[in-house]
Symmetry: C2
Subunit: 353 residues, 2 copies
């Protein structure tokens, strides 16, 4: 189908008036070539419709110049944003990006058992996937560089936020507003219900409460599988507790929205009756005026790609990079009420037992 006149690198070099080696380096964006030379060679290559043969490039550099991204949930904003950042930097550096979605248990099992990326890539980025010991041993069979983007996993060089710190910030925001009965809705991965989605988040909550010398009511700390509807259901359970929380800290903004729906449907007001804070600063959080802890998701992707490139170049980058988070105050949190609300619930009978 393709009109394949074979224009070789030698043709490009001759036309651009440079050596073969310089033409090769210029087209591979390698260092040691002046920008003007690089542009001239690129212009000639474009004009001649020269296309490098991937096999030839691989033979020349001993590398595939491909990177595998292992991503558990493509349908969530967080992962798309992260992948966008990774792709941008890797692409600009001349790498191809192979996408491996390991969403459900079968897909995940198939990926780690068959290692479809083996021999095809120079590196793997695990995007916010906590890997088991078995999976780690399988990955290492590939014998390539591995980094983690997001979802801090100290097994590999990583760029992430400090999950415990993010939740401490959220908790401290609520404590400063006078809240004491603070509920937390944590998430477990639907496919790995034995594990929290981000280790450290529940710990951050306890740390902030202990530091402030505020006792935690265990009834108010609930775990559910990740998701807005699941958080809405968890919130129903929280509303059935005799003494309601005055504030709720949700694992993510999507889950905060689920909790808010339940609160409003129960005839209570956000934030007057119950304050709600999320984590992420999802693009829609601004539109629904949700108070949240902002994490720089795209930046984690960009920086994880730079970390990977540095490792591939044999440099010595910082192997544990944590990006800062900060509270963004909008209209879903306010000062704690003196008296707990109870329109949908009878007042607790303080005389009983």
């Amino acid at each position: 189908m393709n009109s394949s006149k074979t224009v070789g690198l030698a043709d490009v070099a001759r036309e651009a008036g440079v050596s073969l080696a310089t033409a090769s380096r210029a087209l591979n964006s390698a260092y040691g070539v002046a920008a003007t030379t690089r542009e001239r060679v690129a212009e000639v290559a474009r004009r001649l419709e020269y296309v490098a043969s991937p096999e030839a490039s691989r033979l020349a550099t001993g590398a595939t110049r491909s990177v595998a991204l292992v991503v558990p949930h493509l349908d969530r904003w967080y992962f798309g944003e992260m992948v966008g950042g990774l792709e941008e930097v890797l692409r600009e550096a001349g790498h191809d990006v192979l996408l491996y979605h390991v969403g459900d248990p079968e897909g995940r099992h198939a990926f780690f058992e068959h290692l479809p990326a083996r021999r095809k890539v120079d590196a793997v980025v695990v995007v916010a996937v906590p890997v088991t010991d078995h999976e780690r041993r399988r990955l290492e069979l590939m014998g390539v560089t591995i980094v983690a983007a997001g979802g801090q996993d100290a097994t590999y060089p990583y760029v992430s936020i400090d999950d415990a710190a993010a939740v401490r910030q959220a908790t401290e925001h609520l404590l400063r507003l006078g809240h004491r009965r603070i509920a937390m809705i944590t998430a477990v991965d639907p496919d790995r219900t034995d594990q929290p989605v981000h280790r450290g988040r529940t710990r951050g909550f306890y740390e902030a409460m202990v530091r402030a010398d505020v006792p935690v009511d265990e009834e108010l700390v609930v775990a559910t599988t990740w998701g807005g509807v699941q958080a809405a259901e968890a919130m129903e359970n929280l509303l059935s507790i005799r003494e309601l929380p005055t504030a709720v800290l949700a694992h993510s903004d999507e889950m905060a929205l689920g909790a808010m729906r339940t609160i409003r449907r129960a005839g209570l007001r956000v934030p007057e009756d119950i304050s709600v804070i999320g984590i992420d600063d999802h693009p829609l959080a601004e539109l629904v005026d949700l108070t949240t802890v902002r994490q720089p998701v795209r930046d984690q992707g960009l920086q994880a790609a730079h970390l990977l490139l540095a490792l591939l170049r044999g440099q010595k980058p910082n192997l544990a990079q944590k990006l800062p988070t900060r509270v963004v105050v909008r209209s879903t949190t306010t000062t704690a009420r003196e008296k707990q609300p109870s329109p949908a619930h009878p007042a607790p009978d303080t005389t009983s037992h």
Copy 2:
């Protein structure tokens, strides 16, 4: 790094007690092999840690067994969901998925001029990217199969929704509720402001209004770049019109949320003063009780991948597949008020001029 004992396909075939051809077909998930045989061969391959050489597979089949996905916005739910569907089917069929993000004008230009996927893939899926004539000619230089997923572009075999029909459904829902002054906020691509994001949506609005014999006030049809904040600003302009709309149809759910924020901040109520309907059924639409037109996004990805596989197999699939959409009524739309609201605006002086 990798302990490379070279286990060949012949070893797997011998151990599994099948012919070389059967072992090859079994591992490539090709037809004509009994499920039990396929499982036995896979089990042996796993046990022996056999890994197919990608180069060998390519030589054997004359194909790269790779597909390029060209995606403009990875940070939006719609695209992630679509890519998730495509990846699942292509992966199961044994294809690698190469991701090409062409978000900004530079990235887009670089992709179409340099064709980084050339010679690396058997096929390209353009994911809701309307390509220009020039870009189409560049793509065709690759000499591979091309299909479109989402964002109907009749240039290539495609799977999408009927954008005009989706907007007609939304408009007819509002008309049935008695609305006559209906505003529409349409989106143009931030990088292609000369073009609507989905052709057909504005047309669908006019079609429904004309059929119902309701005149369209051109002042109420506004275009803005895609995004919730942009829609919020467009809504501000709509609220400055003397005679307010009683309903707003937004290009997407994200944009509907932006419009709702402006309406509420102006002291008006949704839906009592102004009804709002979106398009998509974004996962968060359910959580904020947004009335919308549901489109099956993941299904478009799944089905586009099947369409592509059928073309690669030389079959004759339906080249123009449109999936149905339907209105999901939640709480942001209601019957039109008799009298237009005006808390933030003086009542129009009907005696003037």
